[in-house]
Symmetry: C4
Subunit: 227 residues, 4 copies
């Protein structure tokens, strides 16, 4: 049945799941209940707030990566559909390790909470490697101009799981240090040059750019709606 | 009033509801509270995590099926609108039986929880049979090229309810076995050839493909935005 | 600032809020906790499930009505923006009266819960009258062909608040009867001929239909994406 | 990696996060539990309901502002992506200060709750100043016609943080007064003339308007889908 799924539609559905997963994270941070002092209760929630911020960025970077990947895809097969569902299920499940970390980062059981958190983030990153791998092995799923870049993206997509694995290992020594390392990895992916797919840009054919505004078309980045 | 609803808009609204239902599921899995050991608490949540994974796939397959169905629809009448709302209400309610199963799968009342779960999933699948039935009886709602395929899809759409009914019956004997059977049904629908609508592909007219990139148009799968 | 808001974008944002409000409703139905008997606990939740079903349909019909309204709108001014935000805030708040009704329908305080519920639904319907009123008083916000129909829609939009007011009054006598009346009103709006805007169809100009498939264009109902 | 993100796609993802954040707010208002009197329990929730209404409008105005900003953007760079993620994380976190204010507005610790609330809203407004600043310093990210307007929008975007800062200061004297001031600021932004970007309208080039309906094109406000 997968053949009938248009890449644009699958990307839009995935966007929805990813946006909701990011926004649900805050529900795991408990507001100071009536009767308690506000500032001490909020200070007590700092691990939950820090976990919220890092997980929001993790999901944000996953959205960017996912957007870049589906920009290259011209056909969806069953394997791609299944891997994409697995990736979405993993992202949508991140509120659980995030809440676990928030509940335990300053407690006596911080090490397993931080290991669980970093390992969960690592799994979400592994799906991208599996997705790129699937695409590289089936080049007919990609836009022709994207094929050589996809191989490069697959290589680079290994960087995420490796970094998050290091964060998971660091968690055995320092749970707080592990959370900081996770944040640093994300900021590096957003700001840095080595993020997967950063160079993978499919040239826009003249026919697709025809209905675009002049200067947008020159940038080679029309909105997906316009194609 | 239904005549004024464009199929594309109804599909987009349905996508939103389905994406949210899938993502809300994780809220039913309880994070280990502060003070408890993390690993034992997470192990204790395995039924909730397993129910999360299966329900996420159930909703994912429903999204695929829904997408394939609305790809064939060119007009929405009141009956279609009502049946679609019923289907959405059933999918959006799945977090309830999912949480019930997660709470009870390893307890003394696992049988009714597993029966309730499989029966709920079965009801969500029955809506698709009702929807295809409605469409087959009113062929003017379908794109002309889709009409013969819709009859085939209606026949195939009976497979889902029958399989989930078997899972509900199995739940009386083995609640865990029932959950595994549900998972197997889903994986079969994703990976297999017999899923409803797998062959139902509406040919894309030349006029619609005109603004598409060459190689995408040849695949007969333009994104919905492009049409 | 409102002049810069495109009607299609405002409608899409509204769709998102409405879809989320509908899907959040289920979170107010409590799953049977571990240790309790499943069937008795579910039976005990029947008021919450009934309130869920009715509210889902209330929000569904509001989506249909909203979609039909924005199909007629060609410009958004500040008043329309403000009224639309008020309507969205009311729809997004419906989980609160829904949960209240679910908690109290079979208890000793069922009357105020049912009055609160029906009055809340009534308020959500009043916004539509206010919106049509705003549009009729500013015809330049509407597509030219929609102006005479908008006056008709304004007249018909009074039917919803009046019906829901009757349901609120009935709640003083029979809370369960009030919920049933609410359900009947919704089903009447979906199935019946008198719903607001049922005849309000803006003709599609030839230029907009040009990129459409032949038979879709003849139906006068191209998807919003295609225009 | 940011270069590959189309402005329209980033705006759509942001819309999703913003719509969800607005709709999640109601989950922080507690429905009267079974066994309690309904009206007294609802009266007791008035601070939560008032905080809900103000936060819904805060997020609504942020959506409008965000929409207006991205209407001017033709390219997304890493800085814009990062600032936008920060803004989304702040908006998605507003349910926390909203619930805090709702829990404490009538209690003994109302001052810190109201300060926390107004300061959080202020931070969400500061992101817009940072975003406009980023855009003004990199005019190649903007549509050419939007550049002089962006400088004006940057100047005006200082108004929001200043107003919300005043509300935060007022909270030290009167928490309820602070909430009322926040509401007044929002209503002023919606109804008034001084909101940022109110004059910032990018002229629509003839090529983009070509597929539009005649009278819509004359308004210079085609839907984003149509471009």
């Amino acid at each position: 049945m997968a053949e009938a799924i248009a890449p644009g539609r699958l990307a839009a559905f995935s966007d929805g799941v990813i946006a909701i997963a990011a926004t649900l994270l805050i529900l795991e941070v408990k507001a100071p209940p009536a009767g308690e002092e506000v500032w001490p209760a909020l200070r007590h929630e700092w691990p939950a707030l820090a976990a919220y911020a890092v997980s929001f960025l993790v999901i944000g970077i996953a959205w960017i990566h996912h957007h870049n990947m589906f920009h290259q895809v011209r056909r969806v097969d069953r394997g791609l559909l299944f891997l994409n569902l697995g990736m979405l299920a993993t992202l949508a499940y991140l509120p659980l390790p995030t809440a676990t970390l928030g509940n335990h980062l300053t407690g006596h059981d911080a090490v397993p909470a931080a290991v669980f958190y970093s390992a969960s983030v690592m799994v979400s990153a592994v799906w991208f490697t599996l997705l790129w791998n699937h695409l590289c092995a089936r080049p007919y799923l990609l836009h022709p101009a994207a094929r050589e870049f996809a191989r490069e993206a697959r290589r680079r997509s290994l960087l995420g799981p490796v970094c998050y694995l290091l964060a998971a290992l660091l968690a055995f020594v320092s749970p707080v240090g592990s959370l900081i390392l996770n944040a640093a990895i994300i900021l590096y992916f957003i700001a840095g040059r080595r993020s997967p797919a950063s160079r993978v840009q499919r040239p826009i054919p003249a026919s697709a750019a025809g209905s675009e505004e002049e200067d947008t078309a020159r940038d080679g980045e029309p909105s997906p709606d316009a194609r």
